[in-house]
Amino acid sequence: MAFEFEKPILELEEKIGELEKYAVKNKLDLTKEISFLEKKVTDKKDEIYNNLTPWQRVEIARYIKRPTTLEYIDAVFDDFIEFFGDRVYSDDAAVVGGIATYKGSPVTIIGHQRGRDTKDNIKRNFGMAHPDGYRKALRLMKQADKFNRPVICLIDTKGAYPGRAAEERGQSESIARNLVEMAGLKVPVISIVIGEGGSGGALALGVCNRLLMLENATYSVISPEGAASILFKDASLKEIAAESLKITANDLKSLGIADEVIREPQGGAHNDRDAVYRSLDETLEKHLDELSTLDRDALMENRYQKYMDIGIYEEQS
């Protein structure tokens, strides 16, 4: 159990453990009592996990044990070869990418890479990229475009890194460049939010034909903490901000921004990795199949139309 909101489940499970011990020690038959409590655990889980608040999903999306980009690549794709560097300044480990085969065909995969522990997080800069990361991503996308293979992007970042060097090397331009260049790609582009989709740094891998989101992933213009402190002048109102900002996969689906929500095992992807790899695989294959019927120009047109249709405004006639 990883989260505060799971405490009631933990308490029931502890009770079961105690009863089991007590039964053995005193040679009693407590099967009935135990199975009653087990039923209660199942009910409690349903109650909690089927009614996760947006903030609870943020906690799940950020969880250190949640599968990361490299783990999805390893589980879902074959023959992955990682490629490094932006050819300009450095290799940014907060973004990974390369080529692999998927169902027998070559694809380019790019993703934000969070650390899997503290040491890894320092190397990966907590998945917050510098311009070098976005430029590496763009280089790999253009390579994919030349060799006519689909681009699959896995989004998992708090946002672009707010640092001095990042600004000096053109953080804004690197993100902006990706947006327009992705608009012009003539291969299928599928972006999947697997964890946190943090603002411009997420969008830099997100101009796509299909946007898919894991059930507990979030995608937001600003972190709930940031919105709470700016809009409500009180960072502790992050739960309300998370609610108001409409950041969950289901919210994005209803707003017509996400195309499909990928089911996660109960309680989150970390509870059953194989299950989440399978469901991501199935959903990805379906969307890639659908896009494979479009020619190069139609793919670009399809992406153009997808974004031109996003927006809710008024128009006086």
């Binding site: 000096e168 804004s172 331009e173 902006a176 327009v180 603002s199 411009g200 969008l203 900002l245």
Partner: protein, 283 residues
């Protein structure tokens, strides 16, 4: 008697440190430059497009004033005025904030779009106005900008966007973030048609606007002294635990770091744009 005159004068000095920054209806005779503190004739300042005659500090200018200063007289028509903001996420208090800014500025959104001539060359021009919701980009701003590019693509015209924005409009959440992508796909269409896009960054250009259409002109210009950057200064200082230099994220800083084609004084704006447009117009 002399004393009297000064006190009278002082009463009429327009203190421009407030963010409002427009002078068109200003009745005051004198204006104090917030940078060099010199008292200037408002009339002179207005003639110089709100640029201090003493220290060249660029004071704020409204979108309306800029439009009039830039476009050839009688040649331009305002576009897409019918597009205004809704409240897509039903975000608390958003509508009343919009209403307040409409009253305050006389604008109905944070960008004004037009088609017209600059020194005889036709172009589509969009000017953001930071007095309206900090120039932030929601659905209406995104739609007006995307339409400006589409309009120009259909007619084979260049586009100039004057950016002035705090970034995405948070009250529209993810829908506002997606406007960055929306304007980008429209820019790419315009780009593939071989047409010219000039991004002209004015004070301030930050966040999601800086990280999208502001930075991807065929030519990127910025106005003297403008603040331009992705992350806020305070956020960066807190992250890196280091004090940043005074000129950090100014137009001049960006020029030094290779992010801009040129820094332009406001009073040279029309001249530069006219020339650039002319050099791209004859095929």
């Amino acid at each position: 008697m002399l004393k009297d005159l000064f006190s009278k004068l002082n009463k009429k000095v327009n203190e421009t440190d407030s963010n409002d920054g427009t002078f068109e209806n200003s009745a005051s005779i004198m204006t104090k430059c917030p940078n060099c503190k010199k008292i200037l004739y408002s009339k002179e300042l207005y003639k110089r497009l709100n640029v201090c005659t003493n220290c060249n500090h660029h004071l704020p200018i409204s979108s309306t004033e800029r439009m009039e200063a830039l476009m050839d007289e009688g040649t331009f028509t305002i576009l897409f005025e019918e597009v205004t903001s809704a409240n897509p996420l039903e975000f608390p208090n958003y509508e009343s904030k919009l209403e307040k800014d409409k009253q305050k500025t006389g604008l109905n959104e944070a960008v004004v779009c037009a088609e017209g001539e600059i020194e005889g060359t036709r172009a589509v021009v969009a000017i953001m106005d930071s007095r309206f919701r900090m120039g932030s980009m929601g659905s209406a701003v995104g739609e007006k900008l995307a339409r400006s590019f589409s309009h120009a693509t259909e007619r084979g015209l260049p586009v100039i966007v004057f950016t002035a924005s705090g970034g995405a409009r948070m009250q529209e959440g993810i829908v506002s973030l997606m406007q960055m992508a929306k304007v980008s796909v429209a820019i790419e269409k315009h780009n593939q048609a071989g047409l010219l896009y000039i991004a002209y960054m004015t004070n301030p250009t930050t966040g999601g606007v800086s990280a999208s259409f502001a930075s991807v002109g065929d030519i990127n210009l910025a106005e003297t002294g403008a603040l331009i950057g992705f992350a806020g200064r305070r956020v960066i200082e807190e992250t890196i635990k280091e004090k940043l230099p005074d000129d950090f994220q100014t137009a001049e800083f960006l020029l030094k770091h290779g992010q801009l084609d040129r820094v332009v004084d406001r009073n040279d704006m029309k001249d530069y744009l006219g020339k650039i447009l002319r050099m791209h117009s004859g095929v």
